[in-house]
Amino acid sequence: MVSLREVCGIIIFRWVPLIVLLCVSARAVDRSNFKTCEQSAFCKRQRELKPGRSPYRALLDTLELSDSRITLQLINDNNKVRLLLELYRLQGNMTRVKINELKPLKPRYEVPDVLISDPITETLSVVSQDENSLVLSLGGKDQRLIVSAQPFRLDIVEGPQVLVSLNSRGLLAFEHLRARKDTSISHKISSTVGSMWDSLKKEEDKPGMWEETFKSHTDSKPNGPSSISLDFSLPGVEHVYGIPEHADTLKLKNTDGSDPYRLYNLDVFQYELHNPMALYGAVPVLISHSTDRTMGIFWLNAAETWVDISSNTAGKMMFGKILDFVQVSSEAPQTDVRWISESGIIDVFIMLGPKPADVFTQYASLTGTQSFPPLTALAYHQCRWNYNDQEDVKSVDQGFDEHDIPYDFIWLDIEHADGKRYFTWDPSKFPQPKEMLQGLMDKRRKLVAIVDPHIRVDNGYKIHNEILSKNFYVKNKDGGDYEGWCWPGNSGYPDFTNPEMRAWWASKFAYEQYEGSMENQYVWNDMNEPSVFNGPEVTMHKDALHGGWEHRDVHNLYGLYVQKATADGLVERSGGVERPFVLTRAFFAGSQRYGAVWTGDNAAEWGHLKISIPMCLSLGLAGISFCGADVGGFFKHPSAELLVRWYQAGAYQPFFRAHAHIDTPRREPWLFGPENTALIREAIRQRYALLPYWYQLFYNAHRTGYPVVRPLWVEYPNDVATFSIEDEYLIGKDLLVHPVTDEGATAVTAYLPGKGEVWYDVHTFQKHDGEQSLYIPVTMSSIPVFQRGGSIICRKDRVRRSSSCMENDPYTLYAALNSQGSAEGELYIDDFHTFNFEKAKQFVHRHLSFSANTLSSRNLAPDSQFSTASWIEKIVIIGGSQPSSATLKNAESALEFEFDSTLAVLTLRKPGVNAAADWTVILR
């Protein structure tokens, strides 16, 4: 008989490897699940190509010029394969460059449905031409597009400045489609392409061109190599931003010593901070900024993409024709950017700015603006994986009322559905969904239920059967329905690239189709990268088929289509009346048109709280304003301090939702003691009071494409000190927020930008000068927020239990005066939930201004009309002097006021005018 101790000893020893493994996987991302550039065959091949003389030559004699574009052929002198170059001058100061094979063996994928329409072109005229160059006019301001023939390169210049050069480092590489050598197809090559075939044969096959295996997954690559690459040089630029989504700094890093930034929508379990790994979404838009100019590069390609950033010195690659034009300063810094994609064509939009706002306008003119959410979506959202049953939903709802904390939405994660069959309800946990929804509606609150795009393969499931009968599933390489493993087990993936499929999907949200649903129920699309647990890199096989196209071609677009189809469904179910609200995890350029995004499965760690700021700022620069991170952190259990700080930060981010993993202890706001409950309540109340401002900013974002939250440099483009700031940001241009994101913090240092600008602490009205770093002592209740002098912000200070309850409440105006004693702002009001603002021009848009002691409200949209019950209850003028009288001109009635002389705050009591009316208040 063996003693107990020996048995344990042996068993402990045997269990060690497993325990270690569990601990490791619980701590961080398992990097080995995801490819490095080295492990991605095309990236490796492309990255092996170093800067040098390009083998491409422009054949100037093939020039064709039309009103809207010019075309030229390019030839690769190494293999004689010809490419077709198309150049467009687009309205709004943009240049589009398209490069495709002149005669591809089969068509190459061009991304549809991302551009809102064919961009409007303007005439490109030839200014001059010689044997090795072509100079085109891009319109005013001496903007020229110079085509150099040998080696081929493009330069956009303005006067003596080079704005951007393409292929100046010779990294244009276009892997032409080819027949596989070992097949009999060579016999069928016609004589016309025979010579090409000869040169082709000289090209060596490289590893991974025709098949690639990663871990246990083999990518069959029936079309062979098809990758593309192009380099861009940005002289004078040291700061580039964008290309979300990465858990990294706002300012993009030099990737010389590391992997390039990767854009490939992936479900990354417990992602790590500060690295260029791909995450759930991809927007291939890069913004460059210097004190001289802001520009953007939009690389319209939905395949796996890698972006290399390197710092360089301008002038090294200057030669040929462009020297006639420009002054070369070899000292100037330069940023080089190189894009590499696995398939498709080169289709790139160069947005020439010159101001940040111009770039936003330009990008919005291509891919559209932020959808205008219903007001309620901007309020607070309470989520958890999972609220267990109807009883649980009810008691959480009551908990908010008992603790007097406002909220608008409660969310149901995957456990609500019957066996993860989306569009259904678990019959034992949610037997009466309408009763539950009605209960919420009685409180003027809403619910979100998750609908993921993986469909349980189950012949007892109506959705599956219909998709099957309509042949709507994505196919595997052999033509059968593609199946993968996800939450429900074996699942099919509807082909969302198919417009008929999307129309069918949208119809499933009709109230009679989606049983148990009601008008206060909205939708969340998760796992739409798509996530395939047993697929390569936890996603779909690249050789899966979407009609005639490989998944390889469309991958980054899949999530956009899922959200689009869902949002369409919500619009349709209301007969086109109601604005939808759909949250998505995966996204692409253009996703801003369909709803909100969040930063995926973060963790309850201070680092994750900090990174939420640059992650959402990057998304905003790339058009997607409606962004948020899971408040509290998804994985792990936050300390009370972290949770409070996260609420305080989240209250000032566009999408404000708390969420938690199923394995974490409950964390509703009242579970951390009365003090913390009070702190969280206050943070949420600040959000609700500020909803009119958020709403107005979203309206403007919808109109113009300007991001709702902005890095400081966007508003202070000449202040170099702001270029790398990512621990504070602006909401619109009038509020500066510096959340506390450090454990045990007793102070933060905020940079207040703008020479001559003044900033007021919104809580104390204390005044601070711009262009200084301000040391701010903080306590647990502090949320450092500053209002810019010169702005008027409208709030609703009567915070109620949901935003809907506050619809008709009066406004308080906070006018913070600048050093000239003036201020201005806007007020936007509509019905807060329908499209009538757009379709029937039913809204109120007011311009508020204060100058020369006169405050007035002027109509910004005289042709619109809307009547509101809201009125002006109070006006607070910060930073002015004490008047002897205040008169409301309309009624010729004197207004009572109070003046706090220490802080110079004047409070006008109850003007009482309707918020939609013209009015003037005169101070004497």
Binding site: V2, L22, R444, R798, E873, R909
Partner: protein, 528 residues
Amino acid sequence: MTCVHLLLTLVFAVSLGTPVEIQRPRGVPLTKKQFYVENKPFTCLDGSRTISFDRVNDDYCDCKDGSDEPGTAACPNGSFHCTNAGYRPMFIPSSRINDGICDCCDTTDEYNSGAKCENTCKELGRKEREVLQKMAEITKEGFLLKQHLIEEAKKGQQEKQSKVTDMQGNKKQLDEKVEVLRTVKETAEQPEKEAKERHLKAWEEQKAAIRLEKDKAKMAEAFLELDDNADGFVSVSELQSHAELDADADGTLTETEAQGLMGGAEQVDTSTFESVWPNIKDKYHSESQPEEPAPVETPPDEVKEPVVDNDSEPYPEDDISEEEDEEDEDDYHEDDDKAPPTIKTPEKNHEDEEAMPSYDADTQALIDAAQKARDDFEEAEKALREMDDQIRNIEKELSFDFGPDAEFTYLYSQCYELTTGEYIYRLCPFNRVSQKPKYGGSETNLGTWGSWSGPENNKYLLMKYDHGTGCWQGPNRSTTVKLTCGKETVVTSTSEPSRCEYLIEFTTPAVCQEPANTDLSPHDHEEL
């Protein structure tokens, strides 16, 4: 803009049924009516400032404490009083005035929002009275039951106490008995040991003599066999015919090697052979006998692992409990089960000696006497151990906190089950909580008895069971048991509000409070 009524006429249906009209500003409770005097300046209740009366309920917040707007939503910190005639009066935050949601059952909070509220106070009052009545009945009966429980518990406790005292007395006697028997045993074992040793020694000597005889016979046989030419001598060459005697294992026995074996002599006679025989006897093979098979080696893989007892804890957890954790069965026994059932030790191959002869009668008598002494001793010792266990168990039971009047004693060593859609939950108070899938599968420990964990004023309302089976990436399972007054002792519901944190609702008479000696009518007009 909203038109706000400054004053509100409230109609009260007092218990006598006579309507009485009382005027006061909207949202003010009667207890504070005195502070709101019409047409007299109003002083904020915190004394911070005084305003003209027309600013009370004028939909603008003038007082920091919100007291000037009891009937509007203007102040962020105000509260609104609804009378709720027929039910209970209450205060609501003033943010709930005119928010479109009916909060007060008398509808007074929604006077200007367009919300269609119905007066539900009477209905609510009726329902509440019903519930209260029912509760009172349950409490009454439950409290009676509780008295019985207390009596029984006290009786039981006394019994156990006296039993322990008795047993401790008995134990003392047993202790003495054990000591006596130990001495008897030791006294009997000494002569037994000596006799056995004597017997063994004699046997060893006898065995040695037999072995010597056998060896001599073998030697003589070998000599005859080796002496091929029967000349009475064994020569070097004769010896060489036995290759197995080869010393350097090169397959041949050389002349030198043979000579070496023979002590340098060319040939030896029978008497000299006696000195050669020890050099060769180990390797020597008789030609007439078949070669002995080589001893079978145990295959190395069979000596793999010690036997693992299935009952022992396979987890490397630090808290390997003394109790048998049969609920901790898991999928990981498989490997252990594959271990060989026993370890085979190679058998002794050369057991040529005969068995030891049985003891002589004297020795056997000594042994029998000693054995009896041993048995007696062990029996007594076992009885003592059992007695100890019993005492310890009773003492353990007595040490539990069974409530201020020992009213929870009856739950001890009982178990209560509830079957839900998927699981059977089992609560064994003061011991453990577990969960077992309804349709097969192993039991999961949801926690072992920790402590009473109710609020300070009555800790006996909640029980906490913790250190249950661990959750992947999560905490160890734990369960809170919420006790409510009921006539029956039963688990009424189970839930898992947070992953691996369970909540069981449990009714028992033991928490029923003495019913208040008052009538059951609700205090709907307390303020009058």
